[in-house]
Structures are given as C-alpha cells and as structure tokens.
C-alpha cells in the first residue's frame, strides 16, 4: 500500500477526478492548501501598500492505493495535470502500514 499526495492546480481537479474514476480509483481525499514553489510571485495592494504574494491556492489530492497501481496513477496524473509550466505541482509517495475501514472494521487491502 502506498499513499500518494498529489499537489495540483485547482482547476485541474475535475479533470483529474474524472480520469481517476476511469481508472476505477474511487476513493480520494481533497485538501485546499496554499503552496509556495518556483511559481513567480504576485503583488497584492492595500491602500497603496504593496505586499508580495508567494502562496498560491493549490489542491492536494490524497490517494491510498495498492503498490502496483502507483505507476498507472502517476501516468494519469502526468497526462492530465502537466502544462509544463512552473506551478504544475508534485507527487509525493509515502509508505503506509495499515488501513482500517470504519464502517466494517476490515483491514488491509480489503479496507480500500
């Protein structure tokens, strides 16, 4: 089991969700986050005072999946979310030890 944390541009979410659903990935958890990276800073103004904005709204999609699904999912993400410009986001992959499904108490792969 792996956990993928995928940081993307907010406007890619719908498309990614659809593409993952095609892959039969149904479960996912979505976070609204602010991200700082290589993306160019913007200026914000408040009664003539300038403030640099270096945090951009991003969406984080969290996916837990079986190990052999990881590459397929990465492929889909790259296909859908890649514009080639700074700010496209990252995929972070983590190990996971156990899953419990609360409604049934099932564990492990069955719990997905």
């Amino acid at each position: 089991m792996k956990k993928l944390e995928v940081i993307i541009r907010p406007n890619k979410l719908e498309e990614l969700k659809a593409a993952l659903t095609d892959l039969k990935v149904r479960g996912m958890t979505i976070y609204e986050v602010m991200g700082k990276g290589l993306q160019r800073e913007q200026k914000q103004y408040h009664r003539g005072h300038e403030h640099l904005v270096d945090l951009y709204p991003k969406v984080k999609v969290e996916l837990i999946c079986r190990d052999h699904w990881v590459e397929r999912i990465i492929e889909v993400i790259l296909r859908v979310c890649q514009t080639g410009q700074a700010g496209d986001g990252k995929i972070f992959i983590y190990p996971l030890e156990e899953i419990v499904r609360i409604s049934t108490g099932e564990r492990g792969d069955d719990a997905l």
């Binding site: 719908e14 498309e15 913007q42 200026k43 914000q44 103004y45 904005v53």
Partner: protein
C-alpha cells in the same frame, strides 16, 4: 501598462478641463426656491432616487455571489466603476442627450451639458412638481443600474480597460438615445404609443440584449461546459436580491414621479408580481428536476421585478400575479434550455432574465394594461385594444435590434484598440488577483 498610462493621462486632462470650466462658470444655477415645488413629491422622489442608487450595490452582491471566489472582487469593482463613470457622464453629457431639448425625435440637444440650466426649480417639461435636479438625479440612477446590469454577461473574463471604454460608450450611444426615444419629450418611440412605465424597454431589454451580444463577442469562459462553474456565496446573492427588491420600489413607484395613488398602485403590483414570480420559478424547478432552489427563488423574484417594470403603472394586481406566474417559467427555460441550445456563455444570465423577462413584461403590458388604472395609459388587448400590443412589439423589436447591433459594433471597434479578454493565465488565476491585486 502603456494603455494604463494613456488612460490616466486622459483622466488628468479631464480633471483640468473640469477645473477650468468650474472656475470660469459664471452663473451656476439660480434657486428660484420652491416655485411650484410640491414638498411631498420632492421628498418621495429623492428617497426613491436613493433606493434606485442602492440597487447597483445590490446588484453587485447579487452578481458577486454567483461567480467563483477568485472573481468576486472584479464583479464588485465593475459595479462600483459603473456608478462612478455613468454618474459623472450623466452630469457632463448624458442627461442632456437623453432629456435635453429634442432634436429630430432622436436625441436630446446639448443645452444641459454639465447640468447648466438644470436647477432647483422644476423643469418645464418633466415632473413639474419637483425640482428639476431631483428628476435628473432620479433618472441618473436608472442610467447607472442599466449599465451595471450588462456586466453580468461578461463577468469573469473581461479586461478592465476594455470594460471601462465599453461602459462609457454604451451609455452614451445606446442608453442615452433609447431613453430619449421612450421618455424624452418628443422621442419617437413614445410617439408610437408604446408604454414603458419604469423602463422595461429602456433598461431591461436594452441591457439584456447588450449582454447577449457581449457574451457572443467575448466567447465562453475557459472550462465552461466541462468544469462546473458554481456560485461561491449564495447568501451574498440572496442579500443582493433583497436589496434589489427593496430598491425596486423606488424604481417603479418612483416612476409615478409623484407620491400619489398611481405610485401606491405601482408599489403594490411590483411586490405582487415579484412574489408570484419567486413562487413560479421555484415551482418550475420543482417540476423540472425536483429540487426548489434558493437561487431559483431569488432569480424568480428578479425576473418578476423585471417583468412588472414596464407594466407597473398600468395593470391590476391580479394581472400582476398572472405576469409573475408566467415570467419565471419562461426565463427558466431560457437559462436552462435555450442557453445550452444556442451555446453562448452569458455568465450570470443577463439575457435570460433581463432580456427575456423585459420582453415578456413589455408584451404583457400590451395585453393587460387598462385605462381604468391609469387614464394616461392605454387599454391593452384584454380590453379590446390591439393597437397597444402592436406598439409594444415595435418598441421591443427596435430596442432588440438597436441595442444588439450597436453593442456588437462597439465591442468590435474596441477590439481594434485593445483585447477584450484577459489572458488565459489571468483568467485561471482569477481577475481579483490578476487585474486588481486583491483577494476576497
């Protein structure tokens, strides 16, 4: 950036001109105080003018709640700018074009530029029981809200400088002439016998069709049709609808231009039609997909307000219920079916509600009007007079063609000088940050 500089230089120029004008202005307006002024009417119309002014912030909230969060400030900003631009244009030029001494039934003369001659005594022509300035101020608010209505059509994608140019030109070339035709002394449309109590044609049809034209010229928002584009703050929209409903009493009752029985009548039928339309929009949704929505109730109320606007001084309370029950289902079909079929992206349904609802209201006036209610009006089809309906149809058609055509041309001309839309990157980032450097 260059354009910005250019614009600001022009503003400075304007400022200096005005300055010089003021300094050389020898004789403002003499106050032949209270000659023939009716205090009751004056107070009433001033309050009504304030109510109509409030409609534009109300509209800003109504619209602002419906866009995505990243664009809400741009919507509010456009409404604020309309309040600024059109108010100043009206004083300098617009009022004279719309209501100044008639030239060939087509346009007002320039005699009242800069409100010269528009003073504290009543005008000889309009609303003779109140100060001329009160009438002109009341009418100013109509010009403001009309231009503001259009902004819903191109919300979430128009460049700010193109928007400024468009509004200024549209008000001058569309609103002012059409207002003259319908309400100006000598205007040719009123000569035909068409009735428009508070602005169904002048305000709602002309802005609704302009919205359609603008939506077509600007094209769809990125993702429209694929990604759901949903309202980010419906309570704001409901608040806006509430302020619109409130302010509209100034609009319609105030259009009696006196605190009389007709004003009371217009007040009552306005509320009645609005209420019925709120119900019938919800009923239409309920039948269509099983869920009555809050946005539907608010939209229905606005549709009802639009439809009763031309009719408010001419139709009975029961006719107002009938109009209210009719207008919402028709507008509902326009925004849920027709829009999809024709494939334009009118962001906030300016056409579907103001264009369609205004047209329905103008026609309904031709059907339900009765001289028993307003002897200065005319009888409608139901009372055996087909002529009025015809006149209404002509007025509607003329406004459709004129406003649609000129709006289209205007935008095409502006496009020669500057792009109408923001860049793709700016659109994705949101206009608040991209154009205004702000976050809601």
């Amino acid at each position: 950036m260059k354009l910005l500089k250019m614009w600001s230089q022009r503003l400075i120029l304007l400022l200096s001109t005005v300055f010089l004008f003021v300094i050389s202005n020898p004789q403002p307006v003499r106050a032949a105080e209270t000659a023939g002024i009716n205090v009751g009417d004056t107070g009433f119309i001033l309050v009504c003018a304030a109510l109509v002014l409030l409609m534009t912030p109300g509209l800003a909230l109504f619209y602002g709640g419906m866009v995505r969060k990243k664009n809400v400030l741009s919507v509010l900003m456009q409404c604020l700018m309309v309040m600024g631009l059109v108010s100043v244009q009206w004083v300098l030029l617009g009022y004279s074009l719309a209501f100044g001494p008639d030239i060939g039934h087509l346009i007002g003369g320039l005699e009242w530029l800069g409100f010269s001659g528009v003073g504290q005594e009543p005008s000889g022509t309009y609303a003779t029981t109140i100060p001329h300035m009160a009438f002109a101020a009341f009418q100013m608010m109509f010009a403001v809200i009309t231009a503001a209505l259009i902004t819903g059509a191109f919300a979430e994608r128009m460049r700010f400088s193109a928007f400024l140019a468009f509004i200024l030109l549209w008000t001058t070339l569309v609103y002012d002439p059409v207002a003259h035709w319908v309400w100006g002394e000598g205007g040719w449309l009123s000569g035909l016998g068409a009735l428009d109590f508070a602005g169904g044609t002048v305000i709602h049809i002309s802005s609704g069709i302009a919205g359609l034209a603008a939506a077509v010229v600007l094209g769809k928002r990125i993702g429209y049709g694929h990604n759901p584009i949903l309202p980010h703050n419906l309570p704001l929209t409901v608040l806006g609808a509430g302020l619109l409903w409130f302010g509209w009493f100034g609009f319609n009752a105030g259009s009696a231009l006196a605190a009389n029985g007709l004003a009371a009548h217009a007040f009552l039928v306005t509320n009645t039609c609005t209420a019925a339309a709120a119900l019938s929009w919800v009923a239409a949704e309920w039948l269509d997909h099983g869920k009555p929505t809050t946005l539907g109730a608010a939209s229905g109320a606005v549709a009802g307000l639009v439809a009763i606007t031309p009719a408010a001084g001419f139709v009975s309370p029961l006719a107002a219920i009938a109009i209210g029950l009719l207008v919402s289902p028709v507008c509902y079909l326009a925004v849920s079916r027709l829009k999809v079929k024709l494939g334009y992206d009118d962001s906030l349904d300016v056409f579907g509600i103001h264009g369609v609802g205004g047209t329905l209201g103008a026609i309904a006036t031709g059907v339900f009007a009765s001289m028993a209610i307003n002897p200065a009006g005319a009888d409608g089809m139901l009372f055996g007079n087909w002529h009025l309906l015809l006149a209404q149809l002509v007025a509607v058609a003329v406004t459709w063609v004129y406003s649609g055509g000129v709006t289209f041309l205007l935008l095409k001309v502006i496009e020669l000088f500057t792009s109408l839309r923001v860049s793709e990157e700016e659109e994705e980032m949101g206009l608040d940050m991209a154009l205004h450097g702000e976050q809601a």
